[in-house]
């Protein structure tokens, strides 16, 4: 089996373009959550909060002939992918070799384009006036297909579609494909957009934050007064590569992926299942061939819902006890669904690189039912060798990824 390393990263986040923008904002403790006054007219929607991606002038960045088939999420995926391949120093020859592939996940295709299409179609049920690019913006593999086209990638193309675990599944699947030697380099990640129909999913389930008067205090993962999810947008890409390929290219290595596990609850379509969360973490440890004491930090899924944070805390406590420092960055950028796993993985890798833990923003009064070691208030220096990254999705999908710090002396 091949070893798999991370050699490039790219991000579009609610803080704007670039990994540096994302990380510097998180390290400064900023919140990207906003009151969405444009949603005020929507009857019944009680959560008027989101962490949208700021305006990007895509016309200056992507040629029309490519852009015509991209909704916002595909545009962000392309921009993140370009950043990641530049970071990884990949050549066009390597991208088109047939041994470089792409796996990008999102909850659906672009919801804003879906809305625009149905607004035109439904009043008179006519498709007259529908542009040729619409399908390519709303199809489930819109992000993956458009990134492949933009970068002329000719290897694997996959689209993992599982809402909140879309991009953690993408990273996990890329890890498996590279371990097996089916490809040499994989661009893995995902994207999603802020849209009222996305927030609606959680609002209907009474799981979206309603702190409309104080956007910068919510979501508040693990806090006693948390009241739910705030949805965010963005896209993220990790360049995964076999260690052999990275060494051959003399690539800079950020971290090694040493474990991944995926399972499902099959208990309830929406309710979290602590038992299966614990099992997925245990299985990831087994995949990495390490013990619980080897994990120095957990980057939690922790969305700020009442049930979800307790279930994850219970699972962490069951496997790791109360001494493994745990935090969530959803207080900073909300829950970007299809982009969550990859944006959070970028931050986890950055924690390894900086040897620092980032606190959970808005965590002021820890919930006694979240009885684990929570990182609060400030960035903490910490010796970190291995971090575990959780993501869980509606539909009962659970994923755990394990990243190991890379030293240039590593063999």
């Amino acid at each position: 089996m091949n070893r798999v390393v991370i050699t490039g990263m790219g991000a579009i986040s609610p803080f704007g373009m670039g990994v540096e923008t994302l990380c510097s904002s998180i390290w400064q403790g900023k919140s990207a959550v906003k009151f969405m006054k444009e949603w005020q007219h929507i009857k019944g929607l009680q959560s008027l909060l989101a962490a949208p991606v700021p305006y990007i002038d895509e016309k200056k960045l992507i040629k029309r002939a490519l852009r015509r088939t991209m909704g916002p999420m595909a545009i962000w995926s392309v921009l993140a992918a370009r950043e990641a391949i530049k970071d990884a120093n990949l050549t066009s020859k390597e991208l088109s070799s047939g041994y470089t592939g792409v796996i990008l996940g999102s909850t659906t295709g672009s919801p804003s384009i879906h809305e625009a299409f149905y607004r035109e179609f439904l009043p008179e049920e006519t498709i007259e006036g529908v542009k040729s690019g619409v399908f390519f913006k709303i199809m489930g593999h819109s992000c993956a297909a458009n990134v492949c086209l933009d970068l002329k990638i000719k290897g694997h193309q996959w689209a993992t579609t599982s809402a909140c675990t879309s991009s953690s599944q993408a990273i996990g699947l890329g890890f498996i494909i590279l371990k097996m030697g089916l490809q040499e380099i994989m661009l893995c990640g995902g994207a999603d957009e802020v849209h009222p129909t996305v927030t609606m999913v959680f609002d209907v389930l009474k799981a979206a934050s309603r702190k409309n008067d104080s956007p910068n205090t919510t979501p508040s993962p693990f806090d006693k007064n948390r009241d739910g999810v705030v949805c965010g947008g963005g896209a993220g890409i990790l360049v995964l590569e076999t260690l052999e390929s990275a060494r051959k290219r003399k690539a800079k290595i950020y971290a090694e992926i040493i474990g991944f596990s995926l399972n499902c609850d099959s208990q309830h379509i929406a309710n979290p299942d602590s038992h299966q969360m614990a099992t997925v973490m245990e299985n990831a440890l087994r995949d990495a061939n390490i013990n619980t004491k080897d994990i120095d930090h957990i980057n939690a899924h922790a969305t700020g819902t009442t049930k979800g944070d307790i279930a994850e805390s219970q699972a962490i406590k069951k496997i790791f006890g109360k001494n493994t420092p745990t935090s969530s960055i959803k207080g900073h950028i909300g829950h970007s669904l299809g982009a969550a796993g990859v944006l959070e993985s970028i931050v986890a890798v950055e924690c390894l690189r900086r040897q620092q833990l980032v606190p959970t923003l808005n965590l002021e009064d820890p919930d006694p039912e979240c009885d684990i070691l929570l990182v609060q208030e400030e960035v903490v220096p910490q010796k970190l060798d291995i971090v575990l990254k959780n993501n869980f999705a509606l539909g009962g999908v659970n994923t755990s990824l394990i990243f190991r710090r890379w030293n240039n002396n590593d063999r």
Binding site: R64, R68, K131, S132
Partner: protein
Amino acid sequence: MTDEQIKEQVIKVLSEEFELDPNELKPEVKLYEDLGLDSLDAVDMVVALEKNFGMKMTDEEALRAVRTLEDLFNLIKKLKNNNK
């Protein structure tokens, strides 16, 4: 609508739809070879022109025969005249 107005309108529609410099849109310009348009763009061009000129362009054979901007001007002139 005069012939000149039709030409100006077509140039305006195409330059906006395909983000082209209107000064480059001379009558002899070939839509596919010179402007780099393709089959998807051809669909969008018809949608944009139909909307702008308020008429249907359903004669697919005539559309397939369009090679240059001049051909397109002439086709639209013909359709406009037939609609009178």
